[in-house]
Amino acid sequence: MLVEEKLERVDFSQFSKVKESLRLKLNLRRRADLESISLDELDYVAAAGTPALKKPEEK
């Protein structure tokens, strides 16, 4: 086998102990961030849609 082929076949990542836990952690963060963006957007929309309060008429 040529040295290029030998190098391409190497895969040390099978020995990583963090691959799956890191993926999970990143996905949880991603979902939490998306949720907080959604909540912020809702706040913005709600704020934009609130009618201006009328001042009570002065007697």
Partner: protein
């Protein structure tokens, strides 16, 4: 290679909002980044440490990734290089002793599964041969063959020309073949 680079550039932009895109990006790049880091450190705990930092930083900056400025692979491997540099600065790291322990059946590390993989003759021979290259030769070979990065992206990652990558790669392969006794 250009088509593949564009595909992953677009996938990276989708990955912030789309879990399938994120998982596909992660699945593709995790082994490539890990191989690159591990080949240098030959220590799975340190490699886990650095690969975790790399992907955390990748995620934190993903919203600012701009495909007009660089391919995603270029951007990600630059993060990995910076994380490795930080690691070496933080510690008085010497891989000499730990590397040799993997070859010593008397050392406790020898019995770890990853040590056995390293002790696999082919892998051990390859890693020892890589140790004999210059830093530049080694980085280029590792990015090209252990991480599957194209010459153009390698040039961008290392701040050199694609032509220089080709020339250095040619010389490095010749050296490796001589070291490994290949004709």
């Amino acid at each position: 290679m250009e088509v593949a680079a564009n595909y992953y550039n677009e996938l990276a932009q989708k990955a912030l909002y789309d879990e399938d895109a994120f998982n596909e990006l992660y699945e593709y790049f995790f082994p490539r980044v890990y191989n690159f880091i591990f080949a240098r450190l030959k220590n799975p705990d340190a490699a886990d440490d650095i690969v975790s930092t790399t992907f955390m930083k990748m995620y934190e900056s993903l919203s600012r990734y701009n495909p007009e400025r660089a391919a995603f692979s270029t951007w990600l491997f630059r993060i990995a290089l910076n994380c490795m540099a930080d690691f070496f600065r933080r510690k008085e790291y010497s891989n000499e002793t730990e590397w040799e322990d993997f070859f010593d059946p008397a050392a406790p590390e020898y019995h770890e599964p990853e040590a056995k993989a390293l002790a696999d003759e082919d892998n051990a021979e390859l890693l020892k041969a890589l140790d004999k290259l210059t830093d530049k030769e080694r980085r280029i070979v590792e990015l090209k063959y252990l991480s599957g990065v194209g010459n153009k992206e390698i040039a961008e990652i290392l701040g050199i020309t694609a032509n220089n990558v080709g020339v250095v790669l040619h010389g490095a392969l010749k050296k490796l073949k001589k070291i490994l006794g290949e004709n």
